[in-house]
């Protein structure tokens, strides 16, 4: 079997898990293996049904008191124990922060190789020598790797494919797996959560107004804030901005910040260095505002305005107000 470890947050499936099921469906078909899923710390019917809609035939569930909330060590040991019992041919998870972390925990516990953020996986006939194309530099560079492993542990590059339900969904069988977990694994389980902002966030906003070095100062972000608020969106920024201390790092779009997926990203005063582009490229549309027509961001955008953002952003706000009036 090919086993997909499902990432969920207290019962809500993560998009990365849907992507991993979609990716795994293709790989399982290629290898002539059934696609099964591992559900850790939950066994609710909705999650099982959703895994089925994405092609899982059997959903193995592990429930235990140390799995009451997310904890990398407890989840890693639970997944490792399921793998010991189920002997899958390969194991896959989504390439999200948690997905990669769980798989690293599994890799450490089973002393197996793990390959993160894969784009293409070729089992080469299934003799245990795999050819893999994976992301380096957050996807700015690709690596062809060879992997020798009887049981590869893999994650699929985040947002590198669209999650799609199967055309022929089966009603999946849910099957409980007994996992005996040491209570001490609770030492890394989430103790508390603090909500700083409700509603849309940078990673879920339908519109992101980005500001770069060209904005010039912390105060000069006010017009970007106004436009973002008007469109139900969020303000993002480049690494240069957070390095200057103009915005908190949680606003940073990029390889070391947030990967955004808005309907439109309005990138203003941003040159478009590789580090930033990695976080912006999953935007459905990009509009660049820049005084430099040669800027990387302008060249890669769908639309551009070659002018000073300090004049263009307020003009856009005014125009929306005028049309709404």
């Amino acid at each position: 079997m090919l086993l997909v470890v499902l990432e969920h947050d207290r019962g809500a499936m993560d998009e990365a898990a849907r992507e991993a099921l979609t990716f795994g469906r293709g790989l399982a078909a290629q290898m002539g293996l059934p696609l099964h899923a591992a559900l850790i710390g939950a066994n609710d019917a909705e999650l099982v049904a959703e895994a089925g809609a994405f092609g899982a035939e059997t959903v193995y569930t592990a429930v235990h008191e140390v799995l009451s909330d997310f904890g990398p060590e407890a989840w890693g040991e639970a997944a490792a124990e399921m793998i010991r019992q189920l002997n899958p041919r390969a194991v896959l998870a989504g390439g999200s922060e948690r997905g990669n972390e769980i798989m690293a925990q599994v890799a450490a516990r089973l002393d197996l190789p793990m390959v993160a953020n894969c784009l293409e996986i070729d089992p080469n006939g299934g003799a245990g020598e795999w050819t893999i194309t994976r992301q380096q530099w957050g996807g700015s560079l690709l690596e062809d790797a060879s992997l020798v492993s009887e049981r590869p542990l893999l994650t699929s590059g985040l947002h590198t494919l669209a999650a799609e339900q199967t055309d022929a969904p089966a009603v999946p069988v849910a099957q409980a797996v007994e996992v005996d977990l040491d209570p001490s694994l609770a030492r890394t389980v989430v103790k508390d959560r603090v909500v700083l902002e409700a509603g849309v966030t940078l990673s879920t906003a339908p519109v992101v107004i980005g500001g770069g070095r060209g904005v010039g100062s912390p105060e000069a972000f006010a017009p970007l804030e106004e436009l973002a608020a008007m469109l139900g969106g969020r303000v993002g920024c480049s690494r240069a901005v957070t390095n200057n201390g103009w915005r908190p790092h949680s606003d940073q779009v990029g390889q070391t910040g947030t990967r955004i997926t808005p309907e439109i990203y309005i990138a203003s005063g941003i040159s478009g260095a590789i580090q930033h582009w990695v976080g912006a490229k999953a935007s459905k549309h990009i509009l660049a505002i820049n005084i430099d027509p040669e800027a990387n961001m302008v060249v890669k955008a769908d639309w551009a305005v070659i002018a000073d953002l300090h004049e263009v952003i307020p003009a856009i706000t005014q125009e929306i107000k005028r049309r709404r009036a």
Binding site: N100, M103, W137, A145, R193, L231, T256, I274, A301, I306
Partner: protein
């Protein structure tokens, strides 16, 4: 408080990353090198913790002899000791790297006592394997959580507790790790300081302990690096002045986001 930070020397990329002719490395001839960003913040965090609680920071790297530059940089911003596990500069796979680092840390702990905290970067900027810190922590029996963007050390609680924050959408999760512990940190946990003149001078005098490793290669090996196919976008220029605002709002209306 004894803190160990693992850092990686990586090329410092600009607008484009080029690959060497043999396809086995990033062509860094016009780029220079830096400490991988998450780890630069890791060193800063470790130094800040010792400034509050006392103690010393040891920085450990695995890489070519030139990776000594990154150890000296760490010393210039406040780290106290530097250890280099020297390689021939070829890409080591994550399993091999983890074994070599684990051995090095065991050696350091056998000589001078256990570290209270191990600090790793969440993932390296270049190869991005997302696993070395977790493998090392597991081998050493230390609890580890990745994605950490806030650390508070409570030295008075039992044997010491690390309260760690992990950013999630719209807020953060809180973890409480009993010490000795390990964390995988992310950029944004702090804003790293720049070296002072005094720091630079101190870094020149840093004595770097060199070690060799006999760790065996793991299952993954690099065949070739290449750039992804670039999609060429026809950029539509909506205007060269604020008057373009009208065309911009037309686009926004078309996309249904106004």
């Amino acid at each position: 408080m004894r803190i160990l930070c693992c850092v990686k020397r990586v090329p410092a990329p600009g607008a484009k990353i080029n690959v060497t002719d043999d396809g086995l490395a990033v062509d860094a001839s016009h780029l220079g090198f830096a400490t991988s960003p998450h780890e630069e913040c890791g060193v800063e965090e470790a130094v800040q913790i010792t400034e509050r609680h006392g103690g010393e920071v040891t920085v450990l790297t695995l890489g070519p002899p030139e990776a000594a530059d990154q150890l000296r940089y760490a010393a210039s911003v406040g780290a106290h000791h530097g250890v280099l596990v020297a390689t021939d500069g070829s890409a080591w796979d994550p399993q091999r790297t983890a074994v070599a680092l684990t051995d090095a840390i065991r050696g350091l702990e056998a000589a001078d006592g256990p570290f209270d905290l191990l600090v790793f970067g969440n993932e390296s900027a270049d190869s991005g394997g997302f696993q070395v810190g977790v493998r090392v922590a597991y081998a050493l029996g230390r609890p580890i959580v990745n994605g950490i963007k806030g650390i508070e050390v409570d030295a008075d609680a039992g044997d010491g507790v690390v309260r760690a924050r992990r950013e999630i959408d719209g807020g953060f999760e809180v973890y409480e790790l009993p010490m000795p512990a390990a964390v995988g940190v992310k950029e944004g946990i702090n804003l790293p300081r720049y070296p002072t003149m005094r720091g630079r001078l101190a870094s020149k005098k840093l004595e770097i302990a060199e070690q060799a490793s006999d760790a065996e290669p793991g299952g993954q090996s690099l065949v070739r690096l290449h750039r992804p196919r670039e999609t060429v976008t026809e950029t539509v220029i909506l205007g060269n002045s604020p008057e373009a605002a009208s065309a911009v709002v037309d686009v926004l209306e078309e996309l249904g986001v106004v």
